[in-house]
Every structure is written in structure tokens, then in C-alpha cells.
Symmetry: C2
């Protein structure tokens, strides 16, 4: 039933792609490591940035859609490197608990009871709403019933890399774990070429929920289909004790001995790494996504990001699912990321604002295999956000550091993804937010009843 509704709404009539859109009179930050340009314009043709330049040299063809961005700042859309979108339903369900109690006492039981295709569809839409409203244009999702996540994010107009979950026990969309690899293979085949904004991937949950044999098969599938291989790794200090049939003396060495590291592997969390682990990650060109707020809230620890960056390991930034954060605002995540690294290093110059912006834009793009993102220049995808600078918290605006240390997702005025205006003046254009909030209210009522 709901999927018919969904298909109807997935029509792009309400947010058409324009032949040409011009943002004029902007303050402009082309990329993380860049200077601000004032009095600039940016031209979008189809789904791609065609040109940027100074207002003095602009030409406005008839029929172009013109957006006056006076007093506003144009920057690349933020990329969320790790999320479990559908878990919005469990936001705040279980706070102030350690990882084990949180997961086994609350989250796993709630998932067993409440996760179904309809839940995944609507709760992913809720996540999309929160992300769009806070300036995230692309997300790496990792969950189950991934066809539903993919459909939801496609319908909402977002860009996404979607890893279908694999575990060795019965999971919401894979009741028979013997079918976990074939389920994911089928999801990848279905979505590989369906929507240019949606990229399927493999998400092996963790070495403590997947056997070595399963991990190997999952990685083979990722290699064969040329998709990303995501895995939670070394999140908690005691993870080695929980790993199924360990091959090595640390979670990273376990993966290395199974030949699972490599350019298409993205290790998420990766808090508890020693120097040898870092060497292995560096040598194999494996990437890491750090989720500092989740790691702090669950008291997992603080990732060694400065050491990773010194070794030229690509480090991305993600919020994690909002049951363990509890927010999907990448502006908040960036701010806290810079600050936690400084205090960990006892060095206020550590993890400067520009590096944080780089993690959340170009570095996330690189590790997700989406190189034409994160930089506003000709030939790149038109995924961009417009911030309203006429607000007390962004006044004065001496330099772009404020995007990390002062901006909030609420300052995002307009969002363009793939050349389409998805949100304007804080109103989502690509779908009906009210309807989504109503659906979640209904689903949350069921969660309350079951407690």
C-alpha cells in the first residue's frame, strides 16, 4: 500500500530539474581549503556545475532560473559518511547507557519488534528531512531492507551510498542468515543502475556479528560488483573479546589477515587502533569514517584522527545513527569533531576548521567513490547549500571557520542536489514533510505501547 503512495510521490514534478540555474550575488566558498569569494555567481546546467565567476562577467540567458543569494553563502553540500537512517525511530529511546546495554538491552530488541519495510521507508524519509534541513546532500546509509532506504532517499531527492547489512544471525530483512550474501547481491543488482543518485554497497555489520567466512564472501561480493565495503571496526575497547574466530591480535589485524582491507573498504568508528593497525590501514589505502559524537555519547573513546591524517589515511566524518548521537546535523558534528581532537591532542591547533570541512566534503566524497562531489567547480555535480549569513550567530563573519565553530544546520536556507532545488527558504520541496511526521508519530506510538 505505502509503496504505491511512495511511487506516486517519487515523481519529480514538484522539484523539476531546470535547464539552467544561476545563483547570483553570492559569497562563495568553492571547497574546504579555499578562500571566500564575494560578489560571485555560479551557473548550473542540468545536474552539473557549468561555471563560476565574478558578477561583473555574468551573462543571464533567457529562461534561466535566477536565485539571488545576496547576504548568503554558497558552499558544497555536506556529506554524512555514516548513518543508519531508519533508526530515527529509536532517537532518544535509550540514552545515557553503555554500548552493550544500549545495543543488547534496547536497540536490538526494538529492531526485532519494529523494523519492517514500511518502517524503513518512512523513518529513512524522516532522516532525509533532518539531513536536508541541515545541509547534508549525500549520505552513506547502512541498514537492512535497503531497497526501502534506497527508494526513500531516491524519492526525497538525496544522493546516497547505501550499504545493505550482513550479519550471521536472523536480521529484519534476512530471516535466514544463510541467504545474507545473496540478498545483498540482489539489492546491488537491482540498484546498480536504477538512479544516478543512488549507489548500492555492502555493509558487513562488524567482525563480532560476522564470521570470517561471511566477511570474506561479503568482501568478494563488493569486489566483484565494484561497490564499497563498509564495516564497523574497533568501536569499543573490548571488541577483540567478541570477535568470532579471531585471525590476529586486533580487529584491524583480523581484517588484514582475511584480506579485507583495501581501497574499497571503509572502516567505521576505528577508535581503538594501535600504530601497527594504522600502518596496515595506510598501506592498504583503506579509509576510515569517524563518528565522534556517537563515540563520546556511548563512551567508546576518541579516534586517533591526527595520527591517521599524518599518515595520509583518508578520514571521513559521519553522525552514526541518531539513536546514538542523537542528531543528524553535520554542522554540529563538525564542531564537536574539531573540539574533541584538540582536547585529545592537548593542542588547539589540531584539527583546524578547514581540515574538518575537508573531511565532511571532499574526503567523504573520495572514500565513498564519488569524486565529482565536494567542490563547487565546473564539471562537478551540482550538490550545494546556501546559508543565510544575516543571523546573530554568524555575525561578524571574518572567515569560513565559523562554518565549523558557529553555524548550525538551521542556518541552511536552500539546498540543491543533482541540479534540483530540494529545499528553499527552509521548506522541503521534494516531498511532504507533514505526511512523514504523521507516519512517524504513528510508528512511535507503537514503540511506546510495546515498552
Amino acid at each position: 500500500m505505502f509503496s504505491n503512495d511512495a511511487r506516486r510521490r517519487s515523481s519529480s514534478a514538484c522539484y523539476p530539474i531546470m535547464p539552467e540555474t544561476l545563483f547570483i550575488n553570492c559569497t562563495f566558498l568553492p571547497k574546504a581549503y579555499g578562500n571566500l569569494t564575494h560578489n560571485a555567481y555560479l551557473r548550473v546546467k542540468g545536474d552539473t556545475i557549468a561555471e563560476t565567476g565574478d558578477m561583473a562577467g555574468i551573462s543571464i540567458p533567457p529562461g534561466a532560473s535566477v536565485i539571488d543569494a545576496s547576504g548568503k553563502l554558497l558552499m558544497p553540500g555536506l556529506i554524512n559518511g555514516h548513518n543508519h537512517c531508519a533508526m530515527t525511530l529509536f532517537r532518544g529511546l535509550a540514552d545515557d547507557l553503555d554500548l552493550k546495554t544500549w545495543l543488547h538491552g534496547h536497540i536490538f530488541p526494538a529492531e526485532a519488534r519494529h523494523v519492517n519495510p514500511e518502517m524503513v521507508y518512512w523513518c529513512t524519509r524522516l532522516a532525509a528531512a533532518e539531513m536536508i534541513l541541515s545541509g547534508t546532500t549525500c549520505v552513506a546509509d547502512a541498514y537492512f531492507f535497503s531497497a526501502m532506504s534506497a527508494q526513500a532517499l531516491s524519492d526525497c531527492g538525496m544522493r546516497a551510498v547505501i550499504g545493505h547489512g550482513i550479519v550471521d544471525f536472523p536480521a529484519p530483512s534476512v530471516p535466514d542468515p544463510r541467504k545474507n550474501i545473496e540478498t545483498v547481491a540482489s539489492f546491488i543488482a537491482d540498484w546498480k543502475d536504477r538512479d544516478p543518485r543512488i549507489t548500492p554497497a555492502v555493509f558487513a555489520h562488524a567482525p563480532y556479528t560476522c564470521s570470517p567466512a561471511t566477511l570474506r564472501k561479503a568482501k568478494e561480493l563488493a569486489d566483484k560488483t565494484d561497490v564499497r565495503f563498509f564495516i564497523h571496526l574497533a568501536e569499543g575497547q573490548q571488541e577483540m573479546e567478541m570477535i568470532i574466530d579471531p585471525q590476529g591480535t586486533s580487529p584491524v589485524r583480523h581484517l588484514a589477515s582475511l584480506n579485507l582491507l583495501g581501497e574499497n573498504t571503509v572502516c567505521v568508528h576505528s577508535v581503538w587502533l594501535d600504530d601497527h593497525d594504522l600502518d596496515l590501514i595506510e598501506k592498504t589505502a583503506t579509509s576510515v569514517v569517524t563518528c565522534p559524537q556517537s563515540n563520546m555519547k556511548l563512551a567508546s573513546g576518541i579516534a586517533r584522527v591526527e595520527e591517521m591524517r599524518q599518515r595520509k589515511i583518508t578520514v571521513g566524518l559521519g553522525t552514526d545513527g541518531c539513536a546514538s548521537n542523537n542528531s543528524l546535523d553535520m554542522f554540529k558534528e563538525m564542531d564537536l569533531f574539531a573540539k574533541i581532537q584538540k582536547v585529545r591532542q592537548q593542542d588547539a591547533t589540531a584539527m583546524p576548521a578547514q581540515s574538518v570541512l575537508q573531511c565532511a566534503t571532499t574526503d567523504n566524497a573520495k572514500l565513498l567513490g564519488l569524486p565529482r562531489l565536494g567542490h563547487l567547480k565546473a564539471g562537478y555535480k551540482a550538490d550545494l547549500i546556501v546559508l543565510d549569513l544575516a543571523t546573530p550567530r554568524l555575525t561578524p563573519f571574518y572567515n569560513p571557520d565559523l562554518l565549523v565553530y558557529a553555524a548550525s544546520g538551521a542556518d541552511v536556507h536552500t539546498v540543491m542536489i543533482d541540479g534540483r532545488i530540494i529545499m528553499e527558504n527552509r521548506k522541503i520541496l521534494s516531498f511532504d514533510l507533514e505526511e512523514t511526521l504523521e507516519k512517524i508519530t504513528f510508528l512511535a506510538h507503537q514503540v511506546r505501547q510495546a515498552r
Copy 2:
């Protein structure tokens, strides 16, 4: 010139105190340690809460102003325990630098050049705008030209405790440091009974900028006039090396030996305390205000808040000035406060959301000497905020933990201070925000020119 303008605007005509205001159909959080009540009302008479109750028993007298808060949450206004309001002008001027370089290389020189009465007046208004828009109803300010800060906060309709700065070198409003005590005495006399929302206080900057003799005189003044005595203490690890004529082996022992600790003393930051320091603070009923974001951004360290709370030391929460944060949003501060304490303690149950809310409301009220704040019940001051819950990031809303872990200042819809509606539907009613932003743009231009 500007003060005439200011006086004109300080008329309360645009935000009159109503004889009676009723908030109806609310979800209601009376205090930090409380349960949510649904379908509630709250009655305000003059500047005070007269009554709260269930909608079933409400009576609405003719002439009452009625605010329908359906789908919204009423809670106590947040209190910012430490701020240097006028430093909004230096927001983002010098990021990613250590405390010493930041202070001596950037902030002190900028202050010497740009701080004057007009700057303090307008930049404090900017801070007020940011605070009101993010749900802060009361602030503890600590700066110079405090009569200007007091006037600005009074004009903006905020409640404030304002500590006039004392240092032993020429300061913006005290060119001759021999007159520092008398300047502050005169400020206290002027503002002691001028506006019931404004409470003057003494702010001895730090033991490394004030000699023992100055500190003693400052504390005597605070005692004699029955006001709060604020001091920056043990912010950085090397502070002992900078203290003028140390009397003791730690900053706290230095203060103790000068007899400066006590019930009216509020130590700000207090990151580097050993167990004996904590004993001294506990024994003297001294309070502490922690500023976690500032301490992280400047890599000062992480305060031992759990140990303080175990000893029943009253701990408040503040943003610090926004040159070292760079935000005045107490919702963001609360979130990060909970998370940094959890990761420091390696315990996800540490500093739970309710304790954080308590620090930012009732505990801040207590240490500022404003006991009728922080709790929405009959007889308490009508300082309250109304949050819009119909937003993705607060959906679902299972419990008030989300106020710490998910809410943003941008979710604040309406603000009442002292019985007056100061902000409604995100529009500030008590003063002209556009005019303030224009003034700051002009002042910031001067800062840019001088670099």
C-alpha cells in the same frame, strides 16, 4: 549619541508586561528533574508564575493574553553561567590557536584597539539576540564598561548578573588600574537597585592578572555589597607559573590562602584541580562554572565535573565568550557537556541529560544567587521558553533527554523573560535586530581594516 537612541528603545512599549498570560495546551517540563506533563497550562501574572495545571481545570479570565502552545514544549529558560557578551565582535577572529597565542597575540590587542562604550553596548546587544534566539533567558556576563553591558541587556529585556572586570593593568574602561576597585564599586552602586532584572557583581579576571592585594580588595567589595565574586581559575595547566605572588601550590590553594573562597565565589573553568583543591572548594561552599566548548577549543582540558558533583559542589554551565567557542547556544553547550564528560569518564552513564539540564537551569540559578529561577512553578519568575516539537530532529520525542542530545537553539519558538514576551515565532520583539546587525557590520569593518 548612541545612548540616546538606546534610551529611546529601552521603552517597554513594544513588549508590554501583560496583567495575565496563559500558555495553554502545552507539553510541559517544569524542571530538569521532572517528568513531562501533557495537556497542561501555565498562568503568568505580572513577572511571576501564578499557577500550573491540567487543561481540564483551566479558567480563562477576560483580558488574559492566551498563547496556544499545542505541539510545543514549555520549559525553564536556560541560564548561561559565563559569558563575555561584548566579545561577539571577535567571534572567529582567531581560531585554532593555543590559549596564550589566542589571548596575547590576538584578543588582548584587538580589545585594546576596539573596545569602547559604544562597542560594548552594541556587541552585547548582538550577544543578547543570539542568546534570546537560542532560549537563554539569563546570562552571567563578565567584561569591562559594564554599565554599557547592563544597559544593553536591560534594553533587550534579558535577565543578567554582570560582573565588572578587574585587572592590574590598564583596561578598556579602567585606564588607571589604581582605580579598578572604585570603578567597580561605583558600577555596583549604580546598578544595585536600578532594574530588577539586572544584578551587578565583581569579576576579578584571574590570579595571573590580579595581585593578591587586588584580589583581596575585590572580594571585600563583593562581600560588603552582597554581590557575586567571579574569577577565572585553573583554566590552563600552566597557570601556577603565571600567578602573581603565589600563596599556595595551586590556583585554588592560592585563592584559599587569600580567603577568597566562599558561598559568593564562582570559579570559572576550574579544569586543573586536584583532590585537595576539590576538598577546599567543597568545604567553602564555593561554586564552579564549567565552559566545556571553550576548554576544548583552546585545548585547555576537561573539567572534573563528575568528581565535583559527587562532592555536592554546585556546578553551573556557561558558553564563555564567543571568541573562544564560537557560539552562545546553550543547547549545543549542554549536548557537548554531557558527551565530553562521558568520554572522559569512559562511562556512558556519566553526566546524564537530566543532570546537564539541572546545571543549565537550577544550579546556575543557585550559584548566581537567583533562587527563584529555573523551575516553572507558582511563585517563581516567569522566565520560560517554548520549543516547537514539530521538527524532524525532535521526532519522535520519547523523553526530555532530546532537549540535551538533539534540540538546537533554533527550535526555540517563544521566549518569556520576567513575564514579558521577548521573542515570538523566532522574531525578537524587545529590540530591532536589523539595526544591531548593521551596527556590528560597521564595527567589524573597522576590525578588518585594522588587521
